[in-house]
Amino acid sequence: MGEKKAKKSQDNLVFTEFKAKEFLKKYADMPKNVLLDPKEVKKTLLEKKLPSSITLPVVLKISSDFIVHKTEENAVKMVCHEIDFFKTLADFEKRLSKYKARGVIVEEYVKGQELIIGIKKDKTFGHVIGLGLGGIFTETIRDISFRACPICSDEFNSMVSDLKFKNLISGTRGKKNDVEELKKIVIEISKIPDKYPKILELDINPIILNEHYCKLVDARIVFEK
């Protein structure tokens, strides 16, 4: 949720994408990905050959605990063609040591409605969970609804009905999104603070919802020290 808070949270323990996804993998599906360590990156660039496990399009990301906002750092890029793949990889390779990166993540490209699921420790009500439109719409449209954690199925439904753009969640143009899967994920995530009361903030942004799946693409978690 707030960018400002991320800066304030420097004294706290921050999980960026890699660790946050590790933490959250039992709660939601994620796009298939492989991590190329710096050696493998070099090798791939030298051979100019796509690893057999990769089919385009993919998203390339620098994996580093020192990058909180990948877009701002130009550390994430979607590539459709082989030529772009190697160009981007070469660009990332030059910056790996600067970020003390563990390598480059090559991730399956997933498409659908971008949503945000967030948890925040509120000073009055304790942990609250928010669900809203994610990706580039998060800050501009600010369409998000909150409930105190944990929530039940009815509460998930009423949360969705609070949103102005609720139709984008259920699906548009005759497509029916897998809302049941989203519901399962949100309900399970709303139980996390019970187990981990030290969570200050948890941002899943975006999680991608379409007719076939609901996949967590990026996340960040801040724990109180």
């Binding site: 009055t124 304790g126 609804s145 409930r147 105190a148």
Partner: protein, 467 residues
């Protein structure tokens, strides 16, 4: 499935006591010690004395005076021999802790502190001092920094505004809990003017130990309260509020107006209540989660409450509205607003449609049902009777433009007669006009809900229908 497990966990059983925290000691008090009583006209201690004296036994306390309004004035509460239900404290803030100490020694268990000058102006030291005295003697405290409390049933008037300056509202079943005192006072005047009755009014100020949850619990158990209105800037005990408010709203409609939802409002709230107002989006979600009805303005707080009180006997009303009008334009505005607010226009059932066609052949039987400018009382009666008997609608929105020539003041009898059958809620839209009879006032006196403009009526209806 996991769902039920979670649900159970969230709801948890909060037991609501019959007289939570012994608050009856305040509201059903007979013997009240007024500490800081004054014989000087218009002083707070004097206004309170006059207000209380109307119906209660008052023991004035003031070390500097012997007689107040011909009553013996005590130097301290310790001199009083009778049992005191609660002490009303209106002395300078710095004296409050000592006065509370004396109350503790006198075994007074309940105090209402009007005085301001505590955490709301940043005087944390005095606040802590008062708090420790209250804890030492296990005393319940309303306030400090509040306007007081009022109960139209027990005839308790412990608010520091004179009855000449602020006429009290009629008796009713709406109770009003307000964090802000000034706003509460202004609203009481407004309600008196609007003839909306009140059961209890509680201004709880800084909530040093009794907070919103205690009062909500109490009101939910109060037999003289059927609807609760709540003005709040900052919930004090969020975790408990989640449990208590859910329980309360399952018993009675809980209507909430939150101040400090914008950045500007928030800043004002900061300086005003001595605490940060919370993030409005989170509050909005929490109010939804506890099934409270959140309104966006002060007026609606009571308009919505008024509908709940009037239609107390109608449960689970659906959203299909039948509009009856004698002006086409008003019908169109009503239809627009109904759609805009996510409500529905009812469709006539075939049987009623046929019946209406026969009984009022000059009228086009559609919704809105336009009875036209040459409408008579009789035509209104036929239309109302049939619509009330039509299972296809859930409630009636009745527009009466009193200017049309063929209706007269007897329309009041027609409408109230139909309303008395209590078949369905009837909500009226009557534009105010300067005329021989004040039709809307006459109808309000007969217990009908009247609005001046269709958009107000429908906005309030939407909240009433919980849409």
């Amino acid at each position: 499935m996991k769902k039920t497990k979670t649900a159970r966990k969230i709801i948890k059983t909060v037991k609501l006591a019959k007289n939570p925290k012994g608050l009856d000691a305040f509201f059903k008090a007979e013997n009240i010690a007024l500490i800081g009583a004054s014989h000087e006209q218009n002083k707070i201690g004097n206004v309170l004395m006059k207000n209380l004296l109307k119906n209660k036994t008052v023991f004035p306390v003031n070390p500097n005076v012997d007689l107040i309004m011909n009553r013996h004035c005590f130097k301290t509460v310790l001199e009083i021999e009778d049992k005191i239900d609660f002490a009303l404290i209106a002395v300078k803030a710095e004296f409050v802790p000592d006065v509370v100490e004396q109350c503790g020694k006198k075994k007074i268990k309940n105090v209402l502190v009007i005085s301001s000058g505590f955490s709301e102006i940043g005087n944390e030291k005095l606040n802590e001092n008062l708090k420790s005295k209250l804890e030492k003697y296990n005393i319940n405290c309303i306030g400090p920094n509040c306007l007081g409390i009022y109960d139209s049933f027990s005839e308790l008037d412990a608010i520091f505004l004179s009855q000449q300056r602020l006429k009290r509202p009629l008796q009713g079943k709406i109770s009003f809990l307000s964090q802000s005192g000034a706003l509460g006072g202004a609203m009481l005047g407004n309600l008196a003017e609007k003839k909306i009755g009140i059961s209890k009014f509680i201004s709880y100020g800084n909530a040093i130990n009794l907070n919103e949850c205690d009062f909500l619990e109490y009101l939910s158990e109060d037999e003289n309260t059927s609807v609760i209105c709540f003005y709040v800037e900052q919930i004090r005990d969020g975790k408990r509020f989640l449990e208590v408010a859910k329980k309360v709203s399952s018993k009675k409609p809980l209507i909430v107006f939150k101040g400090g939802v914008t950045e500007q409002g928030n800043r004002a709230a900061l300086s005003h209540t001595g605490s940060l107002a919370g993030d409005s989006k989170i509050y909005e979600g929490i109010f939804r989660q506890v099934n409270a009805i959140q309104v966006d303005n002060l007026e609606d707080l009571f308009f919505v409450a008024n509908l709940f009180e009037k239609f107390e006997n109608f449960k689970n009303i659906d959203e299909k509205i039948q509009v009856i009008t004698n002006g086409g334009g008003y019908g169109i505005i009503c239809a627009d607003q109904i759609e805009k607010n996510g409500l529905k226009l009812a469709e006539f059932s075939p049987k009623i449609k046929e019946k209406l066609k026969k009984e009022i052949p000059q009228v086009n039987i559609t919704n809105p049902l336009d009875l036209m400018g040459d409408v008579t009382n009789e035509r209104y009666k036929i239309a109302l009777d049939n619509c009330l008997n039509d299972p296809a609608n859930d409630l009636i929105l009745l527009v009466v433009l009193y200017q049309t020539p063929l209706i007269n003041e007897d329309i009041v009898e027609v409408v109230s007669g139909m309303n008395n059958k209590r078949k369905k809620p009837i909500v009226l839209v009557i534009p105010k006009t300067e005329s021989e009879f004040n039709i809307s006032e006459m109808l309000e006196d007969k217990g009908l809900a009247c609005f001046e403009f269709p958009e107000n009526a429908i906005r309030v209806l939407k909240k009433f229908l919980r849409k």
